[in-house]
């Protein structure tokens, strides 16, 4: 059997909020294989974002194990986690999170530059072309529409060909038509680039392009 791209084994996560312990995830077990598009659905505060952060090696579980490509994040130090993210994970956010003073192509090549990868500019242009924004290389984020910004963000998340793409409400700030276009783009990332996507969303319409829907409620996966 193939190793899952991401796997959660009885993962719980607690944190302190104003000094009081809050459980964000409880005994979550979940895995996603290659080329899978998984939607995480649930209301605000159900643990979707926490799950994405754990999957992206941005945080550690309180108990249980998170494995990326079979490698447990628990035993890794900060530098190893950073390397893991550089190689295997891409992020797409609801509010695009482009750097305001970098052009579109510079935003896209940033992960490559941070990882000291070769041919950064060339690969960034290819990614821009893939999201159908050729000709927009030199535009600053404020010169782009919301949909264009999210496409740049997707190109940035895919530029280093990660196995896992984590999308946190990627259509939350977009109108319906633009949102649909972004979802199609994400689907293409699975089909054409072989990425596995975990997408947090609270909208049922967004899940139409997904292979699997996982519902979260109060930090647990609903049956």
């Amino acid at each position: 059997m193939d190793t899952p791209v991401v796997a959660f084994e009885r993962v719980s996560k607690e944190y302190l909020s104003d000094g009081a312990p809050v459980t964000a995830l409880r005994e979550v077990t979940l895995s996603a294989g290659a080329r899978r598009f998984v939607a995480l659905m649930g209301k605000s505060g159900c643990g979707k974002s926490t799950l994405l952060n754990l999957a992206g090696a941005m945080d550690f579980p309180t108990s249980g194990d998170v494995k990326l490509g079979g490698e447990s994040t628990r035993s890794l130090d900060d530098l190893a986690l950073t390397r893991l993210r550089r190689e295997k994970v891409g992020f797409v956010f609801q509010s695009f999170q482009l750097l305001a003073n970098l052009t579109a192509v510079e935003n896209i090549e940033l992960p490559l530059l941070l990882a000291r990868s070769e041919r950064a500019r060339e690969r960034a242009k290819e990614a821009l072309h893939w999201v159908e924004l050729e000709g927009h290389e030199s535009r600053l984020p404020h010169q782009l529409s919301g949909g264009q910004m999210q496409r740049v963000a997707i190109a940035r998340a895919l530029v280093h060909s990660p196995k896992l793409l984590l999308a946190d409400e990627p259509t939350g700030n977009l109108d319906t038509a633009t949102g649909e276009m972004v979802l199609k783009l994400l689907r293409r990332a699975v089909d054409e680039r072989g990425a596995t996507i975990l997408m947090a969303t609270h909208s049922l319409e967004s899940t139409g392009v997904c292979d699997e829907i996982v519902r979260l409620r109060d930090g647990r996966i609903e049956a």
Binding site: L79, N101, L102, L113, L114
Partner: protein
């Protein structure tokens, strides 16, 4: 209004205590330096009354003359049919042999003027023998012996009594003083008390013809006033230099308030929508600046008082070696000086906050809610600012041409300020230019972190410009003063090479001062000339004089050495009543070759103006024969000994010392004299280095505070970089790159501005204040050292903000929007 101030201003300040503290500290340091220089200057300059003026009482007039007042003048004045009270004085200095301390020595007619508070050994009658009375602060007891060196002789004196006095002084009877000081009956001053209620000027006029041909009758304290006037330029320039730290502080206040306004534009918009008036918003931000002024000002008062203790020693040494004998008085923090310093702190803080506060008050509710950072950025009008900078630079060049105003280089100061303003306005263009030209290269050299750092600095152009402006101003000051001092130093070295030609130099032992001219045994030159290795001996005698209300030095020399002339020559000086004057004297009094100086001893025609860097008091030099014609005292103050070719210096020095046995004489080789002169020079400028250091510290603190603000403002971006694969080390490197780039930009701008300021300092401010011609010189090594030091300090200033940046929780900051 109070609630608005507390919520909009105070609460955010308390949320960033470190940055708030750094800004307040920058004001505190600025205020402290201004206060310290003021207090120390006052203490160093205000000490004349407490030393040589001690026991002078509240006389109305004083009679003085170059070389001393003849004793018969006292008889003539006493014989006048007027109810005048007269007191004769001899004033000089003695060195306490045991400690090397130089103290004022005052000779009084103790029979006529019994010391009121002295516990004399007899009943108002001075005891016989070599006795002195000492002030209580000397810590001696009646009956003890004390060795005093007076001129070149040391003798043991018995302490006849001790009197209450804070200053450390010695008093002896006039007859003994006459003998010990070799005055030959000449008095230094006759103090005159006129009948109460009568005009001092009228009495001065009436007594002048009686006092003698070369004597001057002037209101008492004239010498103190002259000394103060002489020190004015020195104190003025120091004061101006002390304001630089405050100017740097002003940049930082401007930056802090600007950041405040930018961060709170949305809040301001909401408040305006809820009914806050423009005046309320303006008031709130000005109050924020005033708060920094108050807190910084209060801390500055305490800090300034402490710093003054350190500064007074440096200033006292400079005053002593360049101007006049002086023992610094104790530092007195008067309510007035405290209030002035405090007001300056608040004033500078509020004035520098005016522009961003006005900007805040103009925020329309809708604008603040809808727009933000981009709107803010667009208001940096680089091209307009650059044009304005060019206009200001032109105005600076014009101001530098202006003549001095009441002896002060006001045009020079204005030029310096305009140049600083021009520099600050040109900084945005410089940042943009570097971004355009060097961004790619930076990326290649320093990696993505350097590229991001440059982009971030360009994106926050206004903030970056203010920071670079502040640091560049401090660096420019270091560079300009460094160039000025370096140029001055090398000019003095060249001058010494030309001027100091003799092999050995002699003067009475003890600390030297610009206005003390103790004399050597008159027979010593002949004894030295008789030594087999000696070619010739040049005798030099100096007297302190007053010329047009300013102290100066009249000297007689045998002109065996060379001098370099600004104008004219010394040819024929031995055979006429003519003089050559030093450049500072000529510039100070507007004297030209061919002019006649009306001195008390005689009118002297000026035949040459020579380069001189020995004293700012200014010299009038005549041939020794001319001097002896009017002041027939053969004792020299200094001797220059020229050896025969091939004579061994050390051996000759020993022979000279042997010939001067029994006298307390200091013999210097040519090399030792140069070394001593350079040591005095370096000590003189030590205070300027201290002032520069404070300005740099203020600027570097500003960089640390501003970087911290940048980190806080960009925490989302820094957190995002972690999501995109940046390691903590890369985030740290990014912040350090920003600090490094700020340092580089500031070094570049500061060096350019510094060179411009150095031209103003050397050719305008120095020339108009002190009258010296300085050959421009670039002390590249020293400057590179200083710039590297500043650069390292700037990098270090980035360490804490970098630490804060790496400890940001990326999940929280990225999701908090």
């Amino acid at each position: 209004m109070t609630a608005l101030f507390l919520r909009l201003i105070v609460r955010p300040l308390l949320r960033e205590p470190l940055r708030t503290a750094l800004t307040a500290l920058s004001v505190a340091l600025g205020v402290a330096v201004v206060l310290a220089i003021d207090l120390a200057g006052e203490a160093a300059a205000g000490s004349f009354r407490s030393s040589i003026e001690t026991l002078a009482g509240d006389a109305d007039l004083e009679v003085t003359a170059p070389g001393g007042v003849k004793a018969d003048a006292l008889g003539r004045l006493a014989a006048l049919p007027h109810p005048l009270r007269l007191r004769a004085r001899m004033e000089d200095y003695a060195t306490v042999t045991a400690t090397g301390e130089v103290i004022p020595l005052i000779g009084l007619d103790l029979i006529a003027d019994a010391l009121e508070s002295a516990e004399t050994a007899g009943n108002g009658k001075p005891p016989e023998g070599d006795v002195v009375w000492l002030s209580s602060s000397m810590g001696r007891k009646t009956g003890e012996k004390i060795d005093l060196q007076i001129h070149d002789r040391t003798a043991a004196y018995t302490v006849a009594g001790v009197f209450e006095q804070k200053s450390r002084i010695a008093v002896m009877d006039l007859a003994l003083a006459d003998r010990a000081l070799r005055r030959d009956g000449k008095l230094d001053r006759i103090l005159v008390w006129i009948p109460k209620g009568e005009s001092v000027d009228a009495w001065a006029e009436r007594l002048t013809p009686v006092a003698g041909t070369s004597a001057t009758v002037a209101p008492q304290g004239a010498r103190t006033r002259e000394n103060r006037r002489m020190l004015e330029a020195f104190r003025w320039n120091l004061r101006v230099l002390s304001y630089i730290a405050l100017v740097v502080g002003a940049f930082l206040i401007y930056n802090t308030i600007s950041v405040s306004v930018v961060r709170r534009r949305a809040e301001i918009g909401v408040l305006r929508a809820l009914g806050a008036s423009r005046a309320m918003v303006l008031g709130a931000f000005l109050a924020e600046a005033a708060l920094f002024g108050i807190v910084g000002g209060l801390a500055g008062l305490l800090l300034g008082r402490v710093m003054a203790e350190g500064a007074v020693g440096l200033l006292g040494a400079t005053v002593e070696s360049l101007y006049v004998s002086s023992k610094p008085a104790s530092i007195a923090l008067t309510p007035l000086s405290a209030m002035v310093a405090f007001a300056i702190g608040i004033g500078v803080a509020v004035a520098s906050a005016l522009s961003p506060a006005l900007e805040a008050s103009r925020v329309a509710p809708t604008e603040a809610m809808a727009r933000g950072r981009i709107d803010y950025l667009s208001r940096v009008r680089t091209a307009r600012d650059l044009l304005l900078a060019c206009a200001l630079a032109l105005a600076a060049a014009l101001a530098a041409q202006a003549p001095p105003l009441s002896g002060k280089p006001v045009g020079g100061y204005a030029a310096a300020l305009l140049a600083i303003a021009a520099g600050a306005l040109a900084v945005p263009a410089l940042v943009r230019m570097v971004d355009r030209l060097a961004s790619a290269a930076l990326g290649r050299l320093g990696g993505v972190e350097a590229m991001l750092a440059m982009r971030s600095l360009t994106a926050s152009l206004r903030r970056t410009s203010v920071l670079v402006g502040a640091l560049a101003t401090a660096i420019a000051m270091t560079v300009s003063v460094g160039i000025m001092v370096g140029s001055f130093r090398s000019t003095v070295l060249v001058w010494m090479d030309n001027q100091l030609e003799a092999d050995l130099y002699l003067r009475p032992a003890g600390a030297a001062s610009a206005d003390r001219f103790p004399t050597l045994d008159p027979t010593l030159p002949d004894r030295l000339a008789a030594l087999p290795m000696v070619e010739t001996v040049d005798r030099f005698r100096a007297y302190p004089i007053s010329y047009r209300g300013l102290p100066a030095t009249l000297a007689g020399a045998e002109m065996k050495g060379r001098a370099r002339f600004v104008a004219g020559t010394a040819q024929g000086i031995e055979s006429c009543d003519c003089a050559m004057v030093s450049e500072p004297f000529a510039n100070k009094h507007g004297v030209r070759v061919g002019d006649t100086l009306k001195l008390e001893i005689a009118p002297l025609r000026v035949i040459g103006i020579y380069f001189d860097y020995a004293s700012e008091r200014g010299y009038v030099i005549v041939h020794r024969n001319t001097l002896l014609k009017y002041l027939p005292d053969p004792a020299p103050s200094n001797l220059a000994v020229y050896l025969k070719p091939g004579a061994d210096i050390e051996e000759s020095k020993r022979a000279v010392e042997s010939a001067a046995r029994g006298l307390n004489v200091a013999v210097f080789s040519n090399r030792a004299l140069r070394e001593e002169a350079i040591a005095i020079f370096d000590r003189t400028f030590a205070i300027t280095y201290a002032l520069e250091a404070v300005a740099i510290v203020v600027a570097v603190m500003g960089v640390a505070g501003a970087l911290l603000a940048l980190v806080i403002d960009r925490r989302r971006e820094l957190g995002l970089l972690r999501f995109l694969g940046a390691a903590r080390g890369q985030v740290r490197k990014l912040i350090l790159c920003e600090a490094g780039l700020l340092g580089l930009l500031a070094n570049f701008a500061g060096t350019l501005l510094g060179v411009a300021l150095s031209l103003i300092l050397v050719f305008v401010i120095n020339k108009q204040s002190f009258g010296w011609t300085i050959q421009f010189h670039r002390p590249v090594g020293v400057l590179l050292g200083a710039l590297s030091l500043v650069y390292v300090a700037t990098l270090l200033a980035g360490l804490y903000p970098a630490r804060v940046a790496t400890s940001i929780d990326p999940i929280r900051v990225v999701h908090e929007e």
